[in-house]
Amino acid sequence: MLRSSLSALFMFAALSPAVDAQEPAWLAEARARESGTMKARTIESGDDGFRATVPARLSGKVEVADDSYSMTLDIGSESPVQCEVIRGGFDPANLLRAAADITFAEVEPIHGKIEKKAVERIDAGVVGHSPLLEIDWIYRANDGSGPRLGAIKQAAAQKGGHGIYCAHIELGYSQTFRNVVRSLVESLQMPDAEGHGEAYFFELETMRTNDMNVGVSMIRLVRDEDGDTKATTLSSMLLPAGEGTVQAQDSYTTEWLRPDGSLINAAHVEIRNGEIESNLRLTEQDDGQWWVEGEHMGKALEQSIAADVAPASLVQQAWQRRELLDAEDPVGRQLTGKVWLSADPTRFSDWHARVTGVVGAGEYSAQETVAGLVFDTVLETSTGLPVRFSMPLGPMTLTAQRAAVHGHF
């Protein structure tokens, strides 16, 4: 999380005009519309592959395709909620961005030219053990008879290895829409879904900039039959970019680890705004040299990394922190090491942690430095993981907070 969220924040842009924030009463009323209490209904696909319970009425049938189930849900508004469950999942942030582009393109022929659009809300959180990203848009369309306002609400979640996408194209019904999405995510049952049972450790975090939740991050540790661990970190983030645009980033870091936590190899894939930003593999050669290859920022990369030591894996970093905190009085103690950062892939970066104080039972404050970047963290003695971290960056502060945890390692 801490590593992969960095690069999304490098977003500058040219100046954008200020947008009028005054809102007339009719618009406030339109926004405040909600459906009354809707009865929860179970919806199922005909192939027994999908089942969920939502406070909405299914219009027609659940449509079954090779890789998805799609449904139209009547929530009592003029427009229905459209949802799709996509087998194998998707890149949540990039899917939301791409789906918004498609929706706006489909809106134009019906309601006229989109004169202006704006991102009104971004939110990120968890539903049970599922990460959820949401974005709300408002737009002004003009078909020649005068401008009118519309709204698009989107949500994307991941559950059991599958992706859930919902959208509603109408002003208002915000809470109704969110209730439907959350119910769908919570109740979704698919026979081929991956359970958390196979992960011996699982953690979800939300990422926040100043007063807005902008991303989610998930760590999963799964052991294979040889006793090696596959440590996967997934991060998704949406950031407002001004002028009715949003920057989307999804990243996937996989580390294969020996039972002693040492790194066998690693891979990192990052998708930004629909394009692969990084696709890197780190391997140890027979002679002990580390080798990085792949694509980074649109360029091929293939080189050895000059290093005396192997980089600490995610699990090794946690174990080292645990050892640090295990002393009678850990305040003031510190550790150093090397880590591989996908954002600086051709070398191993310095990592330093120093315990600065006691936060509460089983938690210590610490300052960690990675490649010159300084993070204030709250470390948990039992896992050795940060339960919270913050870092100033530009005019804002990025924070991450644990939202759910399961298992141990």
Binding site: A13, S79, A241, T245, N273, G298, L301, D344, T346, L393
Partner: protein, 251 residues
């Protein structure tokens, strides 16, 4: 994800609030009327690390406990860098040796033989690169291929073309304080610096054509132009300005 139905609500002419992009620096103006362009401007710079901010700007550290740095924007301030280099070489980010940049440079040459002024370079880049907010940060060859981006892409390409034409050039990160609507607004920004007559001067393609007066406050030079440039740039962005108060004209 088809649009099955749409519902619009209509009364024309209303506005709505957009989420503030993360690069906008909150700015308070305490002046009754804008200070004339070119006149020194007194500002309070509030940041995460005031001492580091003072060092970046080459002024005295106000000491522990300071809530802000008093600073007067006069002529364009220079930034000292740790490395001695020519600022002429191709690098991972400023990769003017790549075919896409070379091809674009040929396009520039078709408009006339060099040497090119910074205005010519800025106008050329502004013409060939479409504004596209939220691109992240592309290397020069990717900008030359895609031909879109925000201020970082404009700065990277302009720097690459300048170096290819033999002008020492570098990318600078900082904030731009812009006079707008009778007040001021501040934005995180990137631009190029070109070496002219022994000093570094601003060349900014992304604000070409902007009529509002702009004051540039450079906070760091992109010195590490290798594959890990993001990380080194982030390190000095931790010492950034997080709030600006425009106090008034300097006496």
């Amino acid at each position: 994800m088809a649009v099955a139905a749409l519902a619009l609500s209509g009364v024309p002419g209303v506005g709505y609030a957009e989420l503030v992009p993360i690069f906008v620096v909150p700015t308070e103006s305490r002046v009754a009327a804008p200070v004339a362009a070119g006149e020194p401007l007194r500002v309070e710079l509030h940041g995460h690390d005031i001492g580091a901010l003072a060092r970046a700007l080459g002024v005295a550290d106000p000491g522990p406990g300071a809530t802000h740095l008093d600073y007067t924007l006069r002529q364009y301030p220079g930034i000292a860098t740790a490395s001695e280099r020519s600022w002429l070489e191709p690098t991972f980010v400023i990769d003017f040796d790549q075919p896409a940049v070379a091809s674009l440079y040929d396009e520039l040459r078709q408009s006339g033989a060099g040497p090119y002024s910074r205005e010519q370079l800025a106008q050329f880049v502004a013409r060939v690169v479409d504004e596209a907010p939220g691109r992240g940060w592309d290397v020069a060859s990717r900008v030359a291929t895609r031909r879109d981006g925000d201020c970082t892409e404009h700065a990277v390409l302009l720097t690459a073309l300048a170096r290819r034409s033999g002008i020492p050039a570098r990318v600078v990160l900082g904030v731009a304080i812009v006079q707008v609507n009778g007040g001021y607004a501040t934005y995180g920004h990137a631009w190029s610096e070109l070496r002219e007559d022994g000093r570094w001067v601003v060349a900014d393609a992304s604000l070409t054509g902007l009529e509002a007066p702009v004051r540039y406050l450079p906070l760091g030079v992109l010195e590490q132009e290798g594959p890990g440039f993001f990380v080194s740039a982030a390190a000095f962005m931790q010492r950034w300005v997080k709030r600006v108060v425009v106090v008034g004209a300097a006496t």
